[in-house]
Each structure stands twice: as C-alpha cells, then as structure tokens.
C-alpha cells in the first residue's frame, strides 16, 4: 500500500474543538462575573465575623430563621400535596382537554407572589370582596398560616410541572404488571407509581424549598402586619430600618445562611435521590381506554376547578375591581368604577418602565438561555461544568435585596446608573433557572450529532441538526421562566436603578410607598395579564416540544 500523505492532518482531538474551548473560556469569565457578588457577600461576612457570630446567636436573630424553616418546610409540604394532586388529576384527564387544565394548574406560577398576596387581601381580608359579598373574612391570612398557604400556592406549580412530566412518561406496563399480579388499584399506586414519582418529587423539593426560603413578597405583605418575621423580611428590616454598622453584615450573614441551608437541603436530597428509585420507566405514551376510576376523576376535576377559582380567579377579580374603583374604600359598584387608574398607570413614566422591564427581561432570558446552552455542552463533557451548573443555582435562594447590595458593592463603582448593573444582578439571581437545559442535554443521544458530522456537517451545523431540535423546547421554557422572573422582580432593581433606568419594580414600589393601592392593583393586573400571555407562549412551546418528542420516538 502506498501512503499518499503522512501528516497533513490538523491536530485536533475530537470533541475539543476551538469553538468548544472558546465557549469554555466565555463560561468561566461569565461565571466569575456572576459569582463575584456571591464571593463579596462571603468576604463581607467573614470580615465582620465576630459581630456576625454575636448577633447570629441572639434569639432575635434566630427567631426569624426558625420561622423561615417552619414556613419553608410547611409550605414545601403543602405545595407538594397540591402539586401531586393536581398532577394526578390533570394526568387522568383525556388528552384533548388537558391543555386547559394544565394552564389552570400552572397559573399561580405566573402571578408575581407579591401581587398574589396583595390580591388575596383584596379578596379575602377585611374590606375585601368576600367581606362585601358574604360578610366573611379570613383573619388567619395575616401571620404564619397565610404566609405558608400563599407560598404553597405559588410554588405548587413547580412540583406540578416536574411531576406531570414524570407521570406522562410513566410506562403503564409495570403498573399493569402489579395489577395482574394481585395488587388493587391503590396498592399498585403505592407500590409502583409512587416510587416512580418520588425521585421527581425529591428533585422538585430542592427547587421549591429554595424558592420559598428566598421569597420576600409574601412574608412582607402577610407576615409583617402580624409581626411574623422570616429571614428575608428580617434582612429587609436590617438593611432598611437599622442603621448600625452591624446591620449590614448581619443581613449578609443571614442570606448566606439561607443559601447554605438551601444548598444543604439540595445535597441531602441528592443523596436521597441516588439509588434505584431514580430510574424512571422508559417513555411510552400509550393511551388506553379505561372504564375504571371515573367517579374519582370527576371529584378530582371539581376539586381542581374550585381550587383554581379560590386561589387565582377570585383574587384576580378582586384585584381588577380594586384597580377599577375610583377611590380606595368605595364599594365596587358600577357608579364607582373608572378606567382612570389604568389610563394613568399607562402614562409615560410607567410605560417607559414597562418597556425597560420588557427589554431587560428579554435580554436576560436570551443571555441566560445562551449561557445555559453552552453550560449544558460543558457540563455534558466535564465534571467541572456540572459543578458550575449546580453552583449557579445557589443565588436563587438568596433574597433579591442582598443580591442587589452585593452587586452594588461589586460593580457599583463602574456601572452605577446603567442597565448593565441591573442586568448583571438578573443574571446572578436567575442563572440557576437554566439548569433544566443541562438536564435535558444529558438525555440526548450522541448518534444524531455524530450522524451530522459523518454526513459532512461542521461541528456547529451538527449541533443545529442533532441537538437543538431536542433542546429547543426546554430552552424556550427556561427563557420564559427567566423572563417572567425578571419582570416581576422587585427588590434588586429598586436598589440598582437610577433615573433613566427605571423598571416596573420602581413603579410598583412607588405606588406602594405612596399608599396608592389602586395603582398597585392596576400594575398587578397588567403584570398578571402579561404573565398569562407568556404562559400561553410557554405552553405553546410545550406543545411543540411534545410534538418533537413524538417525532423522536
């Protein structure tokens, strides 16, 4: 055999292309930029170590932490109960109707918690809708119970999403096997369905826990009036109303405790997670005509309907009425209704703020999705990538006000009064939302990319043809989530804005500080409508993803 060429080959290791290295480099830089505030937080706490330790040991500081643990654990449990129940109910509904029920179950996720709590007050507190119509009020709304219920309502959709995805993928045959081999319906559920749901539930627990531990809007609206402090409201108080030099590092320390607590929960859960129950059954969507369980299904549907009415629809109606009532305190009667607030609210300054928020949120969504996609490639190939993807998730549990402070400390000198600083804070806080992209990436078979390469596509073309079609749906979903979160974010932008970079949050807080409940309600209504539009986009994405999944079977 005569050898034509000896070494005209470009030296390249497969999978370590220049593009891959560039991505890696960009990721490391970005991680640095985003994680710097976190680092600063740690440094601040360490610098003031002695006073932090002293103050952290005081009952006054410990009580809110204990409250946070109580509220978070209870609301996570309740959220799971609601999420599991609604997932089971929606899953039992024939496919044609599922979309609308699915929307209903997701709805609370798309209403900002702050607006949600506010609207509950308009609906169920003294002077609210129920007071007018039924002369019935719910004083427990103020205090731990109200906080727990509202947190659960707002985080249950997360449990729901994760569980319903798992349920849809459940292979019916192991369940049938249980029935044939003597298990009654509930026994089959307990011994086969439940163990398959458990890993998903554990995965959901970490997310819901962090979300609820870090929530500020709900304990602010419902906890403080009853003197019920959680860690986030205490942090808020330390930052806003106490002027001792210690207060600053105490706030930082409390946030670190929150973040570390969530990290511990996450790690503990992962430990739990590993093991055999992690294996979910292979996907096999197989509709089957079943005569069983129709009564149960009917009851479930009614329950879900009532739940949606009570939890979202009625509060939303109350919110709309508040925004339409000429003056706060007047009965929502026809003669007292006006569109003036809506017209006023949509006037220039709020309108500008809305445009800013939309642009910032869209950009954040784009960048985080892009980062998530590159991160997915990296974490698919290396352990360090996986660790980074996990770390990025941490700031999600830190209250926005602290991220805002840390971002100011890190970048305030150079980026003061620019959109860039708000944008960086969004990146830091919401990066973790891109994790599902990495998770989905691991499930994509290599063969489609390889087929692309083999048939002449360069690496990027092969990516477009072999990976993107499967990852696109998840990326879209993550993008919408980031978008929504960025829009209804309040505390970070209120700390970081300057005239010219106002966001929606400034308008809301302005109205709130000014005691202008009608404007608050109006913005709440507008936000909620905006979110529902986003939700429709998201589920449209979900539909197309389903189609893709179908195509890829």
């Amino acid at each position: 055999m005569n050898v034509k060429t000896t070494i005209p080959l470009q030296v390249s290791r497969p999978g370590n292309s220049v593009a891959y290295r560039l991505i890696l480099f960009a990721m490391v830089i970005l991680a640095g930029v985003v994680l710097l505030p976190l680092l600063i937080l740690i440094i601040t706490v360490v610098e003031n170590g002695s006073s932090v330790i002293r103050v952290l040991g005081q009952p006054d500081t410990l009580q809110p932490l204990a409250n946070t643990v109580e509220v978070t654990v209870a609301s996570t449990l309740l959220a799971h109960i609601i999420g599991v129940a609604s997932a089971l109910i929606v899953n039992s509904i024939p496919a044609r109707w599922q979309r609308w029920w699915h929307l209903a179950a997701l709805l609370p996720l798309f209403i900002p918690p702050f607006v949600g709590a506010f609207s509950w007050l308009q609906a169920y507190a003294r002077g609210g809708l129920s007071d007018y119509v039924l002369h019935q009020t719910f004083p427990w709304l103020y205090g731990p119970l109200g906080v727990i219920v509202l947190l659960a309502v707002h985080s249950a959709p997360l449990t729901y999403i994760i569980l319903s995805a798992t349920l849809a993928r459940l292979d019916p045959r192991p369940i049938e096997a249980a029935r044939i081999h003597g298990a009654r319906r509930w026994e089959a559920f307990v011994s086969v369905v439940w163990p398959a749901l458990r890993p998903a539930l554990i995965a959901a627990t970490g997310l819901v826990f962090a979300l609820n531990a870090g929530d500020f809007g709900i304990p602010l609206v419902l906890g403080i009036p009853a003197h019920f402090l959680t860690a986030t409201t205490q942090i808020y108080q330390e930052l806003s109303f106490t002027s001792t030099p210690d207060s600053f590092s105490i706030a930082m320390a409390l946030s670190l405790v929150l973040a570390l607590g969530s990290l511990l929960v996450l790690l503990a859960l992962q430990r739990f997670e590993s093991g055999h129950s992690l294996i979910t059954y292979a996907a096999l969507p197989q509709a089957r005509q079943r005569k069983e369980g129709q009564v149960l299904r009917g009851i479930g549907q009614v329950a879900l309907l009532v739940y949606t009415l009570v939890v979202t629809i009625i509060p939303f109606i109350a919110l709309v009425l508040t925004s339409l009532t000429t003056s706060y305190g007047l009965a929502p009667l026809p003669q007292n209704l006006t569109l003036a607030h809506i017209v006023d609210t949509l006037q220039e300054s709020t309108a500008t703020a809305i445009v800013h928020s939309l642009l910032l949120a869209a950009l954040a969504a784009l960048v985080i999705v892009a980062v998530g996609l590159s991160g997915a490639e990296w974490s698919h190939k290396s352990r360090w990538g996986r660790i980074l993807t996990r770390l990025a998730w941490l700031p999600y549990a830190i209250p926005g006000s602290v991220i805002g402070v840390a971002t100011t400390i890190a970048y305030g000198k150079w980026l003061y009064g620019t959109f860039a600083i708000i944008f960086l804070a969004y990146l830091a806080k919401f990066w973790g939302l891109a994790e599902p992209i990495a998770a989905t990436r691991t499930q994509i078979e290599a063969s489609r990319v390889r087929a692309g390469r083999l048939f002449g596509a360069r690496p990027f073309q092969a990516y477009l043809v072999g990976i993107w079609p499967q990852l696109g749906g998840t990326a879209l979903a993550c993008g919408v989530l980031v978008f929504i979160n960025s829009i209804y974010e309040l505390t970070m932008s209120s700390l970081l804005y300057a005239p010219g970079t106002e966001t929606l949050a400034i308008a809301v807080l302005n109205a709130e500080e000014g005691g202008d409940a009608a404007t608050t309600a109006t913005i709440g209504v507008l936000l909620t409508l905006l979110m529902v539009v986003s939700l429709l986009v998201l589920t449209a994405g979900r539909q197309s993803r389903k189609l893709e999944e179908k195509k890829s079977i």
Binding site: D171, I180, H181, S277, I279, R288
Partner: protein
C-alpha cells in the same frame, strides 16, 4: 391473486374443562374495532401461541383477558367463571393470572427478590414466607445469585428471567406472555423460549404466548393461533400451520414458499400423489387430499420440499434451473433458482453444493395443493 385453502379442521383436544374460554369476543378502542368475534378455548397444561403482524390485536387480546379492557361484545370465562362481558369486568387483580412482558415491566425500585415476592405478598402471605418462596423460585431459574440486585443491574436476559420467576411464583391459573423474547438477542432468544416452555410444562398451567417469531411459536406451542386485523385466520398445530397454511399470507408469515401451477392427477396411497408440473409428471408426498384429482391446482412448497441434482447429464429429469443466488447461513444454505416457471426457493443443510450461475435440475418431493379458488387481494 391469493390462493386460499379451506379452513383446516381444528385439532382435537381432550375434553377436559377449558381453563379459558373466549366466546365471540369483540373489542373496540377509541371507536376503532380491534378484535372481531374471537372464539377459542384453552385447556390445562396447553400452550397456545398467538402469531400476528404488528397491530393485529395480540396485545389487545391479552389485555382484555387480563381485565384491563372491557369487551364490546362476547364474554370470557376463566375456569368456567364468567369474568368479562360488556359492562361487567372483574378487576385484573382478582383473576389470578401471571404475565411476562416484552419490556420486562419489573419494578426498578425493588430488588429481584422483592419483585418476585410481590405477587405472593399480595396474596396475603407474610413477608418472611413470601420471600422464602420467592427464593425457591429464583433458585429454580438459576437466579439465586441475583436476589439482592436491582433490575437495572441485570442484563436483559436476566431481567426477563426475573419476569418469568415473578409470573411463576404467583402460581397463576393462566400465564400470559406478551412477546417475552422480543427484546432479547438472538442467542438468548431460543434458550429463553425453551426455558419458558419447560417451566410451563412442569407447572402444567395453561399459557397464551404472543410472539412475532414463527420459529419460536412453532418451537414452544401446542397450538398456534394466527391473528390478522382482529380475526382468527387459522388455529392449529404448528405443523398444520407450516405445511398447510390456510392462506397465502399465512404461508408467507411462516417462511419462504413457492407457488407452482400444476395438475393433480391422482391420489396414491401412503399420502403420495401423482402430479404434473410443466408437462412433467412426479410422484410426490401430497400434504392435503382435499382437491379433486384431475383438476388444475396451485401447489405451495417450502424450500426444503424439493431437491436439486447437479452433474451432467443429471441423474434424474426435473425442472431445469439456474442458481441465481446463494446464501450461506452456517447450518444451511439457501438458493434462489431461476426457472421458466418463475423463481423457486431451495434450501439444504450444510455448505453450498453449487455455484451461482450453475445449471441444475430441480424436482419436488412434497407439495401442498390449493384448489384454484381465486380470491382478490384485500
């Protein structure tokens, strides 16, 4: 054009009481009729294989017998007891059945032992006793070593053995097998099917065995049911199905075949007959006697029912053929023969005995005759 023989008479089975009786069963799914008037009986110790193309309703039939689907019409009796009829279906867990699934359908979060003990637990046994019995069953299938493993730690074949152990442990009155070997690779397939057959014969429990694989159906079954778009097309002993397929489709389902037009001259004794093919007369073994001597018929023949003779001049006159293709398969070799009356398949054990392009003489030894009832393709 399709040639169809008269429906073959069903083989006689001892008239013990049927363990399963399916009468006139029709099932409709999503307004789509899937099974039509299925009627058959299954007797203790018998294994009935159900063969059919994808979508022919095999799984639907098993699911209806298991009690997951309600019939649209007809009824199902288990050991004489009415368990399914339109609108009244006994729950699956009350039927005392055992089932082995194509996808194994083991419970991934339970150890092998727990998987096998599960049906026993559900029958009300204590944990200790059920695990003891499950261990015995595992030992019987050479699985003791894997008792504490989880399904994910086993190979496909081992998982399927566990699935079998689970079905056996329950000591059911009827086994349902839904393509139990479809996910196993070919080396394992045959031995696993044999294992199933042995275990089923030992326990003398009746079984329905759904498969795509004709060889496997023939190898394990007492009787074979051919299902086509929800109808029973033929039901009989493996040999009946292979040698006397009711329709051309069934013939094709069971392997290669050749159709040759000819004439049945006379039936001789000992199953032989005088036939004419291409002006040439042969004495062959004729597998059915239902055609009228002296009439034109269409002969169906399997590749191994003929012979080729090489050598020049040939020792015996037959149909002149040219070898168009040779496929060596190890234990046997298959040939495509080109003749003036079309392509004839031929098969012999061992190495190729001729070369592609070589001229040979072919003559028949055994035939099956279809009366020329011509049926238009569906």
């Amino acid at each position: 054009m399709k040639y169809v023989a008269k429906q073959h008479a069903r083989a006689e089975i001892t008239q013990a009481e049927a363990i399963l009786a399916v009468k006139d069963l029709s099932v409709t799914l999503d307004q789509q009729p899937v099974l039509h008037e299925i009627t058959f009986e299954l007797y203790p110790g018998e294994l009935l294989a159900i063969l059919g193309a994808s979508g022919s309703g095999k799984t639907t039939l098993l699911n209806t017998i298991a009690g997951f689907l309600a019939p649209e019409k007809g009824s199902i009796y288990l050991a004489g007891e009415l368990v399914s009829q339109p609108g009244a279906v006994q729950a699956p867990e009350k039927r005392h059945l055992g089932m082995v699934f194509q996808s194994y359908a083991l419970w991934p979060h339970m150890s092998v032992l727990e998987n096998v003990a599960f049906p026993l637990r559900r029958q009300g046994m204590s944990k200790a006793i059920s695990q003891k019995q499950a261990s015995t069953m595992l030992a019987r299938l050479d699985l003791e070593a894997y008792a504490t493993r989880y399904p994910s730690e086993l190979s496909g074949g081992q998982q399927q053995r566990v699935g079998l152990a689970r079905a056996l442990a329950a000591q059911p009155r009827l086994f349902l097998f839904d393509e139990p070997t479809a996910n196993l690779d070919s080396a394992l397939k045959a031995s696993f099917a044999q294992e199933i057959r042995r275990q089923q014969q030992e326990s003398q429990v009746a079984a329905l065995y759904v498969t795509h694989d004709v060889r496997e159906a023939f190898a394990v079954a007492d009787r074979v049911m051919i299902l086509q778009s929800g109808h029973i097309e033929q039901l009989g002993r493996p040999m009946d199905i292979y040698e006397c397929p009711a329709t051309q489709e069934i013939a094709g389902l069971c392997g290669l075949y050749t159709l040759l037009p000819g004439r049945l001259e006379a039936n001789l004794d000992a199953g032989n007959a005088e036939v004419t093919i291409e002006e040439q007369r042969y004495t062959v073994k004729l597998l059915n006697k239902s055609c009228q001597p002296g009439s034109d018929v269409v002969f169906m023949l399997r590749p191994e029912w003929g012979e080729i003779i090489t050598g020049n001049p040939p020792a015996r006159a037959g149909i002149a053929a040219t070898i168009a293709r040779i496929e060596y398969q190890g234990s046997q070799t298959e040939y495509d023969l080109e003749t003036t009356i079309g392509k004839i398949y031929y098969r012999a054990l061992g190495r190729p005995l001729a070369q592609v392009g070589q001229e040979v003489q072919w003559y028949p030894r055994c035939l099956y005759a279809y009366a020329p009832t011509i049926q238009e393709p569906a």
